[in-house]
Symmetry: C2
Subunit: 382 residues, 2 copies
Amino acid sequence: MKIIVAGGDGFCGWPTALYLSKQGHDVAIIDNMIRREWDNELHSNSITPIATLEERVAKWKELTGKEIRTYEGDLNHYDFLREVLKREKPDAFAHFAEQRSAPYSMIDRSHAVFTQVNNVAGTLNVLYGIKEIVPDCHLIKLGTMGEYGLPNIPIEEGYIEIEHKGRKDVLPYPKQPGSFYHLSKVHDSHNIMFACKIWGIRATDLNQGVVYGLDTEETKMDPVLTNRLDYDGVFGTALNRFIIQSTIGHDLTVYGKGGQTRGFLNIKDTVRCIEIAAENPAEQGEFRVFNQFTEDFSVLELAELVKKVAAEEGLETAVSHIENPRVEKEEHFYQAENTKLRDLGLEPHLLTEEVVREILQTVVEHKDRVIKENVLPKVTWK
Amino acid sequence: MKIIVAGGDGFCGWPTALYLSKQGHDVAIIDNMIRREWDNELHSNSITPIATLEERVAKWKELTGKEIRTYEGDLNHYDFLREVLKREKPDAFAHFAEQRSAPYSMIDRSHAVFTQVNNVAGTLNVLYGIKEIVPDCHLIKLGTMGEYGLPNIPIEEGYIEIEHKGRKDVLPYPKQPGSFYHLSKVHDSHNIMFACKIWGIRATDLNQGVVYGLDTEETKMDPVLTNRLDYDGVFGTALNRFIIQSTIGHDLTVYGKGGQTRGFLNIKDTVRCIEIAAENPAEQGEFRVFNQFTEDFSVLELAELVKKVAAEEGLETAVSHIENPRVEKEEHFYQAENTKLRDLGLEPHLLTEEVVREILQTVVEHKDRVIKENVLPKVTWK
């Protein structure tokens, strides 16, 4: 299958491109390299040293004989996108190419506007590109579990049957996202649903949980293939951030009470979920939603888990509760469905102490690269 | 009360500015004059000749002694918006300043992207401006009944209580809008709800139905104050378009079966609704939604009504069903709540034959201005 991975130089996109290539798919990457620029803007870095995209795909070809074509450009440049679609004629378009950090979107007005315009207009271009050039192409779009927010009823996969005043309908699940970034994904979902309806586009929205981990079988094959790993207050996410804090003698900083519960998944499951979606495409005109996570944890549970494993590795650390930079509930009901991907064959990599230990051991090798002043959150929601 | 009317040169904004000024409020208009540019782009016009904004406010001052200050500029230029907010320190900000045509947003990719970026980023700027400069200012935002789409259950005002798997919550009403324009308003609603929650902004989202009519007491005071009236396939809306078709001997062109049912209101009620919202502001942090329409009609009912009144005026016309340029249901359930504005004092101007006759008589005076090739729809959803 011919698959484009947009955002294929990023944390999720790069291992996905490798995995799909290894599985025998014909993969091309689109990326505008902006994630690397944001490191410069924020004076931050990946704790793992990462090679350039050119070096990465050259090494992959050397090791496997498989070619991953690369297109450096921006989905917001429609002429560029059209040319790539014309040349590649993909069967599936896996779309990771968005600004994906909630804190980044909350830095200030211009970052909020940038995030929404970049993500929403980029995705509109993808929809028009598919309509115009490759109408049968399956759009696999990365959404987020954060689109749902924290309702006091169970979260379903995209839709909910509502009975009201004696009538019934199945409607899009109500959305209450918690940042301008999460809002941009909600906007995307509404736009895509509409495009499926009027143009017959086939699309799968993968409402992904928080991704942890670093390596996949493929990224481990050579240091040049290493994936990026973020730990800073802007791009770092809960579990990975705690692990890195533990290796540099930093307290594990839980925001507020730490009762915030979210869905999580291993990066190894992210790459498999994309393959499952690609191999089981949505119907023409169908806007399908899968909740892409494997387990849920509270932030405090994760901190305690990391503390325990770190101690076993000789790294003494404490859990500290810092003022929550976000406006969010710290204790709440949380129950979310996630059966559709498992029904299609996902076999989850669950979070064990061994998994934490493995990430931790990799991080320890690179701990001298941590820029300590970036670890704590500086962006607030207020 | 100090009120800014953004989009105050437009079809709804101009009569609103006059009405609020007459009621004794201190009114300032922001407008970037782009609605007049779109007439040039589309080779179209208002059937009524309209004066420049400068002439309009000068005449208003001459007739009433009341000053309406004007600021020519774009909400997407944040520095401009900040300066206006600093100078005016408004108590309320009535926000009509968006691209408001569904067909315009569906012309092509660049019009879709323009509509969403213009509307969403402009409103984000307004939210940041209020947060930064006038945190107590009440945002009165024009939404649309089209945000809800056509669910098979009754439409409530913004929120719905859902019972699911033994639990209950009151959640944002699910949205299924039918164009990239309507989608932009859904995106706005989500963004505003979030800003209210995190920053304590007070906001009222007025999900307005289709507005018909032309005159208010104020716009009738002098020809220079005349409101614009659109009839073309892009900016013209159902009832007004039928009336104009009847005056030029054109068939009344119903899209498809004509069973499409929508909420409607007279422009005289639009202006009053803004006043009601302003005088009864939302609480700090409250995102309040009112459904702003007074009656619902099917498109075919409106065509038949116009045909009857036109015949009485000596204008013989026929109702013809043309191919629907939109992708929409032509027969469907429709029941929408609209009690909140009436509970606050709205006394609707209902649609009678007399009302149609009055609009028709005004239109007849200007029928030579109609550019006939603009009457039929050219933009399709496919």
